[in-house]
Amino acid sequence: MTETGVLLQQVINGLSLGAMYSLLALGFTLVYGILELINFAHFNVFMVSSFIGMWALELLGISGQSHVLTGFALAGALAFAFAVTMLAAGGLGVAIERISLRPLRGVRGPAAMITTIGVSYILFNVILLTVGAESQNYPNPMPVVRWQFGQVTLELREVLIWGVTAILMVGLHLFVSRTRLGKAMRATAQDAEAARMMGVEVDRVILTAFFLGSALAGAAALIFGLYYNFTSFIIGYTAGLRAFTAAVLGGIGNVGGAMVGGILIGLIESLGGQLIAVRWTDVIIFSILILVLVFAPNGLFGRAAPNKS
């Protein structure tokens, strides 16, 4: 392979990684935009969702990578798996908000954030103690289809990742910009007090943010499983940390920023690994983050929510 061929291949790898980080970063950003809360439970909502997706596929009788489907059967199976995973993940997010965070509303200081860390550990241990610690072989009905462009290989699953991510992002954008609830979300993000006075049901808006963020994490989790063909109780940590970094890099609270931040982190990871060395990945990512924050403290695209002083 030539130098350019390798770099192009790494760009493809990076875009796939980045798409996952973007979807996951949106969950951090949506909740932060409205509550100014960093939701650490999101790490493991992602992890739990990957298991939900696995069980959904197993429910269809798919196991391992040998049950290959094509055509409508494949589309149906994937649609089912995405629907189940996203709804269940969204439900999990709503339950976390309703049970553990709403009672703390109005409590100043880090109580809510610490609670999300606690919830994260509970999810982590529930999976560890019920499913066990072994890596799970992920059911995957997708045929291995590869297209060769010169020296660069593109796979069906990569196209699927990009396609699903693009659809979800456009959908989220339309929701936030065109619907009443989306408008209410933006209003709450700008000034919760004023929005409440104008008749916006803030609690409903918050639940919506949790539902959407977690459902997107669900989509990211299923994509993760289908891309890597494995899941384990431990996957939330690295992916969550990178996605959170992506949200901060793009400007936390800024929906567009989270999308771009995710893609950037993915590209930095793959190209940094290629040009320097993979073992330096985290050092590279966080050095860039620190540099960006030094010169642009609100991230590349600024925080969407103005200071609520």
Partner: protein, 414 residues
């Protein structure tokens, strides 16, 4: 008032604990019980293989107890887990805590474990100061028993870290010889999983590979908690190596096996005993795992007719097949039992110091042949066996015995 009551309670508690302690010590003398510590990572990625090791050791201990114990001593087991949820695999910090726990219980006269060298490095200094011998059935990092590092791992002065497997000083280089002689590999890319075992094994392999004229095209490190190795593998693919060698255990190994099947499906892929185990078979699955080479730092006893009764009893008792490290664990237990026997026979008290000395001078007939140790605690028999993962549909996926095909002994360096 309150404080006085508290004082009273604490005083009486102390008294109670004191009596209990005394009573248990008296009881010990009467019942004649000794304890054997077992420390393995039952939580995390290697739990399945840890269970196989424990089962092997327990078979020997249970058999001895069924015959009325050893020289009148009933054998008790102190089972400890050095795997933690946060690490997702073995955790050296937990291993150190466990070593302290074993050392602080006088009834523990010897131990079996750990499975992993990373834990071994944390435990050895503590065990050495407590003069408590442990026999590892699987940890192969050579540093722990290397006299060069005696100040670090053997501060007590005597060997306490014994092995019923040989070390990576042989496992890595012998596989490099196999690469050169049998597989005719001309170029290789080397990866490790950043653990003590993985880095050491990859280093030892790499040094011998270079010596044998194999072109080492690159070396990188995989983070076991990371999910994505496509960057590393794409980089490797661009260099077109003949082969990939991986030093490391299952947590990173499963993902490497899966993703390397997608990106570099045709090259020769190999690891050490970290890719010998059920985790690789079930986690990575087929076809991804098909064709991977693995080694173990012990002879392949499972196909030896002498092992047949052991395998039969093992399968009957636990409802599953043993792997070769079940055998080295069984052998480790036999060595400890023989040591207790010989101490008791000589009329001395069965103390950990006496048991250590007896282990040091062992010549015990085991499944893998007569086990004896050099002055550092390493086994004198230095055989590295090569396997290749070859799917056998007639047996369950996690059946190590039938899914790893024995290829022969890796040639020793001259």
């Amino acid at each position: 008032m309150l404080s006085r009551r508290l004082l009273l309670i604490s005083l009486s508690t102390t008294a109670l604990v004191g009596t209990l302690g005394l009573r248990s010590r008296l009881g010990l003398a009467a019942d004649k019980t000794v304890k054997i510590g077992i420390n393995l990572p039952f939580t995390g990625a290697d739990a399945h293989d840890a269970e196989l090791i424990k089962d092997g050791a327990m078979l020997a201990i249970d058999n001895a107890n069924a015959k009325g114990g050893i020289a009148g001593y009933k054998l008790d087991v102190m089972q400890l887990d050095d795997g933690t949820a946060t690490a997702g695999q073995y955790d050296p910090a937990q291993a150190a805590t466990n070593a302290r726990k074993m050392v602080s219980d006088d009834a523990v006269v010897a131990a079996i474990g750990p499975q992993m060298s990373g834990s071994g490095k944390a435990m050895a200094p503590i065990l050495s100061q407590g003069d408590l011998a442990t026999i590892t059935p699987s940890s192969t990092n050579p540093d722990i028993t290397d006299p060069k590092f005696a100040a670090q791992y053997m501060p007590g002065g005597k060997a306490i870290y014994f092995r019923t497997v040989t070390t990576d000083a042989f496992q890595g280089p012998n596989m490099a010889n196999y690469f050169a002689d049998t597989l005719k590999v001309k170029s290789v890319y080397v990866l490790d999983d950043s653990g003590a075992y993985g880095v050491g094994l990859a280093d030892a392999f790499q040094a011998q590979a270079k010596k044998r004229g194999i072109n080492v095209l690159g070396r990188d490190r995989l983070d076991p908690k990371e999910a994505d190795y496509t960057t590393t593998l794409t980089k490797m693919k661009s260099l077109s190596p003949d082969a990939l060698y991986y030093g490391g255990v299952g947590q990173a190994g499963v993902k490497l096996v899966k993703q390397s099947y997608d990106i570099v499906p045709t090259i020769i892929k190999s690891g050490g005993d970290g890719v010998y185990g059920a985790e690789i078979l079930t986690g990575a699955g087929f076809p991804a795992a098909q064709g991977w080479y693995a080694t173990i730092a012990a002879p392949n006893v499972l196909e030896n007719p002498d092992a047949a009764p052991f395998i039969e009893q093992f399968a009957k008792k636990y409802g599953k097949q043993p792997d070769n490290y079940s055998i080295t664990a069984y052998d480790a237990a036999l060595v400890i039992l023989a040591a207790i026997q010989s101490v008791a026979a000589s009329g001395k008290d069965v103390t950990r110091g006496a048991v250590r000395d007896a282990i040091q001078s062992s010549h015990v007939k085991t499944l893998q042949g007569t086990v004896s140790f050099d002055a550092n605690g390493d086994i004198e028999n230095r055989i590295v066996s090569v396997f290749q993962i070859t799917r056998n549909d007639k047996y369950p996926l996690d059946d190590v015995l039938h899914q790893y095909k024995y290829m022969g002994v890796a040639p020793a360096s001259s």
